[in-house]
């Protein structure tokens, strides 16, 4: 589903990703682990299409299409979803109105009929209950005054609502206590599907206890330096990034 080849990306003229290769098939969950500054967030932003992340070399192919050529909204409509590390607060736009606008914009872009307000409301309510997203949160301005856990739950609610083909979770565990982490992980696991690929980006092994990946890649210095099964996470936890990076060199 996703094929990244020799990807070089620079931000503000500085090269961050330096020849990254990664391939994920439908139905698989891959994890990217890496120390701070290794390029994890750059990878997530370049996949979602954020401005200012320039692809200098290499390719990102998504279902046979050149993903890097598409604007962020087109990627979203084609099923790419990034659960962000820092979801933004937007005063003046209610969460419910945002969800409806986004869902219908994606549907429009795919040539599907728009859902009416009641249809969206019913679907959102059903999915929100499972993630413990309250009615009050849906009525409030988007992410404004939400706790860290509430913001992350809302990201997963969006993932559940938009039903993406490729879901990228950028440090979804950061700032969560263990109960919030479990709730988010359950939400993510419920969305595991043979037709869906997931890329879980994290600094810590902890999240991978709950979202067990099929494959783990270690990102350091803008490149994948080690790969392995889920046991690699435990090895990382025991040895630390420095040793793994050294072993790989």
């Amino acid at each position: 589903m996703l094929e990244i080849k020799n990807l070089h990306v620079s931000v503000g003229g500085k090269e961050i990703l330096k020849g990254l290769n990664l391939s994920i098939a439908a139905g698989q969950v891959h994890a990217i682990m890496g120390p701070n500054g290794s390029g994890k967030s750059t990878l997530s932003y370049v996949l979602a299409g954020r401005a200012g992340y320039d692809v200098n070399q290499g390719s990102i192919t998504y279902n046979g299409e050149d993903l890097a050529a598409l604007p962020p909204e087109a990627r979203a409509a084609k099923g790419v979803f990034l659960a962000m590390q820092y979801p933004v607060e937007i005063p003046g736009v209610t969460t419910m109105m945002f969800l409806k606008s986004a869902l219908n914009a994606q549907r429009r872009s795919r040539g599907e009929s728009e859902l009416d307000a009641i249809g969206v409301l019913k679907t959102v309510r059903r999915k929100a209950a499972a993630l413990n997203v309250s009615e009050d949160m849906l009525k409030r301005a988007l992410n404004v005054g939400f706790s860290g856990g509430e913001k992350k739950r809302l990201e997963i609610l969006q993932m559940s609502l938009f039903e993406p083909k490729l879901a990228i979770l950028d440090e979804t565990d950061s700032g969560l206590d263990i109960d919030a982490l479990k709730l988010v992980a359950e939400g993510v696991n419920a969305l595991r599907d043979p037709s869906r690929a997931m890329l879980v980006i994290t600094h810590y092994q902890r999240l991978l206890d709950y979202i067990v990946p099929d494959r783990i890649h270690v990102l350091a210095g803008g490149r994948i330096v080690a790969e392995g099964g889920k046991e690699l996470a435990l090895e990382l936890e025991a040895k630390g990034y420095d040793q793994i990076v050294k072993d790989a060199a």
């Binding site: 962020p72 962000m84 937007i90 736009v93 945002f98 914009a105």
Partner: protein, 369 residues
């Protein structure tokens, strides 16, 4: 040159106003309060008109008394209050030159909103008196004109409540000035929303004195400007006694070569302890040549007060824009959504749903044009 007035003024009072304006003249940019709005330049070779503009009042609800200032035999409340509040050079001009206007006196709690429209060229006066415990919702509409200077005096008695919504539609080429002076007595509340869409030079100037304990003034406003239009809101708010509250929230969206101005000066006088004042002005610039001048000011002579002020000028937030686009919302829709959201919180304070919708509609139309 005009030598007397049709208004209910003593000859001495009229003479005073006329000579105030004639000696000071049209304010230039050298006058601090007019630094960002060049009235002399906007007027060009034209002098400030000495004509009298027009007004139109909606159906008068029970509890509101009206006097046409062009008529003789003014009642005592008009004689007492007309020309009694603080005067600026331009409100001196409207007092001296206007031969008409409207005076309203509210004695009870009036539910139905009252509409007041100003139109035509020249000077005009309005006097609005809310007696003790009176309440009114006033909807002020302006219609286009090449040059108008309106002087308004508002007197709020103890525990009175005035909700004021002012809609100033875009008036290309027009110079529209309104100078408001107001006193707010104890427990009285003034709540206002000013929606302005600019003109050649559009300016609303307010001088509000909170004169009794627990007097409150809550001002909000939105401005959407295109082309080379100019809209200025200048406020002077004085906490003359302690335990008084004021809030101000102004949001402006400026495109093209337009210019949005907000100057707000809050003064807390000596001994006015327990005063609470908040002041925020923000502008979004949508064109490289658009300009916003936001100048909140605080002057505090009391010890125990809560005062906050802030101003920010900028472009749409890049993080927010990316977030919305990454969720599938096309860029132009995402921009629209963020612009509406930016203005929305300044409109949220309009108490009546119907009036809030009216302002929203005007804003939506201005944004779409």
């Amino acid at each position: 040159m005009k030598t007397a007035s049709a208004l209910a003024l003593t000859p001495a009072r009229w003479e005073q106003a006329a000579s105030h304006f004639r000696s000071a003249g049209v304010p230039t940019r050298r006058v601090e309060d007019w630094k960002y709005s060049d009235l002399a330049k906007a007027l060009g070779d034209t002098a400030l008109s000495e004509a009298t503009a027009s007004w139109k009042l909606g159906k008068l609800p029970a509890g509101v008394e009206m006097f046409d200032l062009a008529e003789a035999n003014a009642p005592d409340w008009v004689k007492t209050h007309l020309g009694s509040l603080k005067e600026t050079t331009l409100s001196a001009a409207s007092l001296a030159f206007a031969d008409g206007g409207v005076a309203l006196r509210v004695t009870g709690a009036v539910e139905t909103p009252l509409t007041l429209e100003f139109s035509g060229k020249g000077n005009l006066r309005a006097l609005i008196v809310l007696e003790k415990n009176a309440a009114l919702t006033l909807v002020e509409n302006l219609s286009g004109s090449e040059q108008r200077n309106v002087g308004v005096e508002i007197i709020l008695g103890a525990n009175a409540q005035l909700h004021h919504v002012r809609l100033a539609p875009a008036a290309a080429g027009a110079i529209q000035i309104e100078e408001v002076a107001m006193t707010v007595a104890r427990d009285a509340v003034y709540t206002a929303h000013y929606a302005s869409f600019g003109g050649k030079l559009s300016r609303l100037e307010l001088d509000i004195a909170l004169e009794g304990a627990n007097a409150q003034a809550h001002l909000s406003g939105v401005s959407v400007l295109h082309g080379d239009s100019h809209a200025d809101i200048t406020t002077r708010l004085s906490h003359a006694v302690g335990n008084t509250q004021s809030t101000q929230l102004f949001k402006k969206v400026a495109g093209g070569k337009s210019r949005a101005v907000y100057q707000g000066k809050v003064t807390v006088t000596q001994g006015a302890n327990g005063s609470d004042s908040r002041q925020t002005a923000k502008a979004l610039l949508l064109g490289n040549q658009a300009e916003a001048d936001l100048k909140p000011e605080l002057e505090i002579f009391a010890d125990d007060v809560k005062c906050a002020h802030g101003a920010a000028v900028g472009d749409l937030d890049a993080d927010s824009l990316f977030y919305l686009r990454a969720r599938g919302i096309p860029e132009s829709d995402a921009r629209d959504l963020l612009i509406h959201a930016f203005l929305e919180d300044a409109m949220a304070g309009i108490a009546r749903d119907d009036l809030r919708d009216q302002v929203r509609t005007a804003v939506n139309e201005a944004l779409a044009s």
